[in-house]
Assembly symmetry: C2
């Protein structure tokens, strides 16, 4: 029998055992990860490059090393010999980077598939949507022309510059702006160090970059028009960086990469645990994210044809754990009751203090956190959506492994968070997968015939293409349709005695087959199981209960508007989400999906300093509710596991609900 080895593919996290001798590209395909190639595996196109990560990955219980692959072939070596610039730019060496069509598995490996090599580009990407943002950056440039010093006026370089700058700032900004006098202006120490040289080389004609109308952070020779900034959304899984022109607001590049901390733990709790258990845990996590940010920055700068030193500010958002690790603050107390962050307020620190390779005199602005599980990413969502500027009561929900909820209007804002588990994102569901080609993304079940129709990502027509699995939106659809068609009851149980060959007793209990084996690319039936339905019930009950708690605390029956942030919200059918009781009842056309609100918020904060002050002040007055401390929570949670809910009317989707069954035993449903 052939020997088997463990293969882990990042950033997707796909893993499995493959036979010795198979190429990485073939192994990846078997695990559902497509890697590009246009040369028919002849080692000439180079589209299939992958990176071999080295080290011991506790989480997967494997030791990954380059030697666990066949040696670099002559053809492969020849390919890389023709691409010295590529290797240099990326900082890769041959052996670390391989052509996945050439290298054969001889042991365990963890392989990173770079964005450019991925065949199935993910459709749910953190792409900032185009928004009209008023440009009021924290860094502004002013041209200053000075009379050179002479023996009659040998005033110091800084004072000469500051006096010229005072005039320039006044000319540009007008006298109504609250501008400091020349002697109140300051200059960053590292910038001061090169000032004298720059002024002389520039013959006293310079462009000065001023941060917050206060601190000079760069002096460039001659007239320079543009400044650049980067907005970064550090997700637990994906890190996205948006490079922007601070003058025009234009987005010049967007780069994303998997969060390298994933090798230390898949979710925030496991990373906190890692930092607690390892003396150098925090340091490793911190250095990993800093290195990735520097890499993304370099890539973005390269694609925008600018230098990284021209980037004068970086605005960062992320959940509280990502926030702490980025700032090298120990996340221990985020993970232990009473779950306390080190700091709420926004932080401004010099890039050099964090080792981030924008201009060393540039500042890093990190948005405020709101609570242990309501982080700077939620602050960014508020910046993007501005519930605090509304008269209506808005309910903002960002769904991920954890869901954060904000409710309120200009008078009052309340927030909470709840773990929802990974089910809503397609994980922990038997045939769950990401929204990539081959994924079923829509499901409809005929309530008479109990036959399904489905739509596959990448296909224009329903019921065409080969299915590979079910993505998040179709999981919601399936559960809602099973309920609407009367296949599962309001408590989520498969009903007995329905005449459909699709309803059957599978290995782990009752299930409904959505796609038969012959309709798939994996050669196996794709069902929704009783277990899958239970996972969704738990997730939606948690989310609903959190929303209901906020509404109750605010004295509201229902929100005026529901805003779903994040990739998840963008792809689900809101009617079906409401039918299973994932979100509270509300007029359907008042439910909005806004995409990557955290990324948008980071970008807005980068381009508009007033929004930073605004969010600092807003977050100070948001009321936090911790659900586990709410005595009603357990009771409410149980009622919320039903479809759509045990005790709420849901008038807006009432017409879709089959005959309701009153069931006094509901509380015991999970036994």
């Amino acid at each position: 029998m052939t020997k088997k080895h463990n293969i882990i593919l990042q950033p997707s996290g796909s893993r499995g055992q493959v036979e010795e001798g198979i190429s990485i590209r073939s192994a990846a395909r078997d695990l559902g990860v497509e890697i590009e190639s246009i040369c028919a595996e002849n080692a000439t196109c180079g589209k299939c490059m992958v990176l071999i990560e080295e080290g011991r990955f506790e989480k997967y219980n494997i030791e990954s090393k380059r030697e666990n692959l066949s040696p670099v072939s002559t053809e492969e070596a020849a390919y890389f010999a023709r691409r010295p610039k590529l290797l240099k730019d990326k900082g890769w060496e041959v052996g670390q980077v391989r052509l996945s069509c050439q290298c054969k598995v001889r042991g365990d490996v963890l392989v990173n598939v770079p964005e450019e090599s991925r065949g199935n580009k993910q459709i749910i990407r953190k792409t900032a949507r185009e928004r009209a943002i008023e440009i009021k950056p924290s860094v502004r440039k002013y041209y200053v022309s000075m009379t050179p010093p002479n023996l009659e006026r040998p005033i110091a370089d800084w004072e000469r510059l500051a006096k010229g700058l005072e005039t320039s700032m006044g000319l540009v900004r007008g006298t109504d702006a609250k501008l400091p006098r020349w002697h109140e202006l300051t200059i960053d120490y590292q910038c001061l160090r090169t000032l004298s040289k720059t002024l002389r080389e520039a013959k006293w004609q310079v462009t000065v970059s001023v941060w917050q109308d206060q601190e000079v952070i760069e002096v460039q020779a001659g007239y320079v028009e543009d400044s650049y900034g980067a907005a970064v959304d550090i997700g637990s899984t994906t890190v996205a960086l948006y490079l922007c022109n601070l003058r025009t607001g234009e987005m010049l590049a967007a780069e994303s990469e998997m969060n390298p901390q994933i090798v230390y733990g898949e979710d925030v709790m496991s990373r906190i645990q890692y930092a607690i258990e390892h003396e150098d845990g925090l340091e490793k996590l911190h250095k990993a994210i800093v290195a990735t940010l520097n890499k993304l920055l370099k890539q973005a700068a390269k694609s925008a044809h600018i230098k990284t030193e021209e980037v004068l500010e970086m605005v960062l958002v992320g959940n509280s754990t990502m926030h702490h690790i980025l700032l090298n603050l120990h996340p221990k107390d985020l993970g232990l009751a009473p779950f306390v962050p080190a700091i709420h307020k926004s932080v401004d620190i010099k890039a050099r203090e964090l080792g981030l390779h924008i201009n060393p005199s540039g500042n890093i602005h990190v948005l405020p956190t709101i609570a242990s599980f309501v982080g700077a990413d939620t602050s960014a969502m508020i910046v993007a959506e501005e519930p605090h500027n509304q008269d209506e009561n808005w309910l903002l929900i960002d769904v991920g492994t954890n869901a954060e909820l904000i409710l309120g209007n200009r008078k009052r804002l309340v927030c909470t968070s709840t773990p929802t588990g990974p089910a809503l994102e397609g994980a922990h569901v038997e045939y769950g997968m990401r929204a990539a080609p081959g994924a079923i993304e829509r499901v409809h079940i005929d309530e008479k015939t109990l036959e399904p129709r489905y739509k596959i990502v990448g296909e224009d027509e329903w019921n065409t293409g080969k299915a590979k699995g079910i993505c998040g939106s179709a999981i919601i659809d399936s559960v809602a349709e099973l309920f609407r068609a009367g296949i599962v009851d309001s408590r989520g149980r498969f009903k007995q005695g329905l005449s459909s060959k699709r309803i059957r007793k599978g290995e782990s209990g009752w299930e409904y087959v959505i796609a038969w084996a012959e309709e798939t690319s994996i050669g196996r039936d794709i069902p929704m199981t009783q277990q899958d339905v239970r996972q969704i019930q738990l997730a939606k009950a948690a989310l609903f209960t959190a929303a209901r708690t906020l509404l109750k605390r605010s004295g509201l029956e229902s929100p005026d508007k529901i805003i779903l942030a994040g990739g998840f919200g963008s792809y689900i059918d809101k009617e079906k989400a409401m039918l299973i009781g994932l979100i509270p009842d509300c007029e359907l056309d008042k439910v909005y999906a806004v995409g990557n609100a955290a990324g948008d918020g980071a970008r807005i904060a980068l381009l508009n300093i007033e929004k930073r002050n605004e969010i600092d002040s807003v977050t100070r007055r948001i009321e936090r509710f911790e659900l586990p401390t709410d005595p009603e929570f357990q009771n409410q949670f149980m009622l919320a596991t039903s479809f759509p809910h045990m005790s709420e009317p849901f008038p807006h989707i009432a017409h879709l609900i089959p005959n309701r069954v009153a069931d006094p035993m509901a509380k015991n449903f999970m036994k």
Copy 2:
């Protein structure tokens, strides 16, 4: 013939050639440097320890290495073996440190004689005089007791602390103080990093150190009363550090050391030159001073029984060159016309940015510079004497190799500087020496007999003891007395035909013998030569012309008060200084010597933040005059070379002036 080797002794700078095989201690004595010993050179007392500096010293054209001394003897090794703690505390290793009574010269060496080993302790030391300073430090401590977080109130650590701190600050400072609200307070990033841990270990009872009522820079467990700060005066020759209690103002330790940059150049111009000529020149100079500051800090902390991390602020002063090198700013443009500093205004930077080992979150405050040759040391002198708060017009003079002058009152202040050369400090005068035991410090010449009387440092009576040389105060005395007794004329020329065996033609021209060989410890006559008188004429003319220029620019005939700062001013006879025209005419009891005003000013700025703001504002309005640009300068300078002056009346010492001779040829006096 015996071989000879070069020996350099620091910090005095004494140098000479000595015979092979002589001990360092004996060699030093021959060169006029006494090294302590109480064990009769038996290698038991250890009082004679010296440090052997290694490296190539271009300035002296020697290569100094340990191997140029006899190996460590058994007795010497035994002594150091008994003192492991001493070696550890000082960071010395045997071989680097030697007992100077034991080690024999076998090649060139540069030897550093530490303060504690010096036999002739210098009397002119930079010792801060006791002054009443109002204590308003920039760093204040507040005790904060917090309710620990719980699930109902899981507010972040920083916000919890800030709210408690707002209350504590208000309670301590009263409601009339302009204190920030809790959300306006900030915390230094490095301090934030350890905040969560400290709060929990301290069980939420902490003492918080706040800088400028704004930024938290330290959080200590429990109740802590005292904070510490250091004031530093970086002289070109000597660096002095004063460790103070910031609450009481008490000075806990004073440490001084030679400026290590001396090996790269004796005066500021040669150090600027070094930085220009060597690519790593600035870096070497900068690192040398930072290392010395850290060493002094460590010593001071040790002697005060505190930790260096407890030092929360350091205030630094020094001339513009020392200022630039400390801040790692290239001093090039200080040395080239039009002589422009990089910055005038005071600088606050984090200790960690400079690598200074006070608390890393602590700040370094550097006082403002006024001009290229009027540095932060002059600013400190102004802080100490406060001419800007007077109705009278004061003339402040700090005499060194360069003299800085400030003139004015609360309405107007003008300043200038002038090179005076080292003659006034006893250098470049044939038998000049520092004010150490054996130095003639006072001279009187009988105008009838032309016989001198003199007083030696360390002797109570006149004309007793053995003379070794003449120190600065006696050089002024001698020249004044030679003039008063009619031995030299008003143009500084020795008169012909006077009948005294003390007046004779020596090797380099006419001279007057102050002490005969048998009255000295060096076995040679000690004269004042024509050349010495010329040196003093040049120096005093420069100083007087600078003062006169300032007076003229201010429309004044004479100052209301003359303040002489620095060691030089403390020891000279003011009447005699006026007689030779070193200082302008003025009532004698209006001439004050104030000692180390720069050191005092640094200490005042450390202890009183209002004085820092005051000096920043004062230095902005001081008018600078560069003498070489004054068309009158050359003419005035020539007139000023005469005693006391060619064209000024000097009524207050007129009775001492012998018959004045009008001499139209005065302009040619130097030919």
